[in-house]
Amino acid sequence: MTSLSKREVFLLFLMAVIVSASLFIAFLINPMNAEIAANRDKLGALEFQKTQTEINLSIIPSLRTRKDVRISETESALGAIANPIHASEFERWILPVMSKYGAKVTTVNLSETKVATPELLYTQVTPAVYRLLELIRDYNQISVVAPQPLPTSTTQLLFAEYTYMFSVGYESFMEIVDAVKEWETSYFVSDAVYNFSEKEGSITIRVYGVHKLTEQELLDIYKGDLGTHPNDVTGPKGSSDPK
């Protein structure tokens, strides 16, 4: 065996160091670094989740308050719309009004209740505009405010239409119309006709209804509404007797 020169020994040593370091890095350091990076990511995500959770937990009292407010607002909004009603129940409200003002009902048409979107029976009249008018307005520095677009609704409600024809004096006819208006609910006189010479009138009432947040509310509102004498019934919202 020939002895190695100094240079050869050094090169062998260097190679051994490099090989050892490479193996160390490849099999120990790199996997560990990768694991640390993965754990850092996981920890970051968990810390974010923890922060979110802590925020969520800290706002529970305010969420409870907010829910109560929303319930109150929703009940109030739903309360402005009448409850679902059958035609026979509706008669318990309208017939006492007719009786009160001495109307003799001759014909009644009661539609089936169906699902419908509230229809706005309203036309926005736009005044005529022409070139010269625009120039004159421009000269006088008059700016014309464009009319607000009419609201549209996609909300579906229960809908029925009830038409009553009856004989009655004009003043009583208008009292009946006012009585329906004063119910202040989602019942509207959509059509009304009165003939002064015949002393006959007819009204068509559009009835929109909606269920309430809880069944109990429905029961509360309708309490005493059915099976009683028509003159004892409450108004659609259960608040006051019709005039």
Partner: protein
Amino acid sequence: MKKQDMNLLESYQKLNKLRENKGATGRIYIMIFIGTLLIASAYYFTLFIQNNTLKQNIKDIENYLASPQVVDRSVEAERLNADIKKLEDILKEVQNAQNIFDLQPKFSSQTMNLLLAERPGTVRFNAVSFTGDAITLDISGTRVYSVSDYVMRLRRLDVFQEVQYSGYDLVEGVYNSNVVIILKGGK
């Protein structure tokens, strides 16, 4: 030629020194190798500690998130949020419909009283009808200017969107006409 003396001691010392030098270089290499190994091990150990700390932190947070109290309250928060969202959806839908109801013109005695109050003595009401947002007056005037006079009065009130007047017919001595009054919204 002068014969030189052989100095074996000197040769021995030189040889010994050379051997010692070789041994020292080997030791240096070994020490460098061991030193490098120790440094690398220390670095690896640091990484190991760091990784373990991370794992411990992860475990702590996972335990916190999985604790029954936090889970229950998180569920409650989620349920509250979901309920609020549902209520807001209902509210939006209802308000949507309410906007229509609010704008819908209402037929009432108040409007009719106004129409009657502005009526000239020469005008008689035959019939009145209301459809949606329009009141149609079937009227008769005893004089030729009766109807236009009435229409003019109604227009001057400025409480209606429009008062439509489309003429009249003379029948049996009276001027019959239909006047259409378009109501304003939200009244």
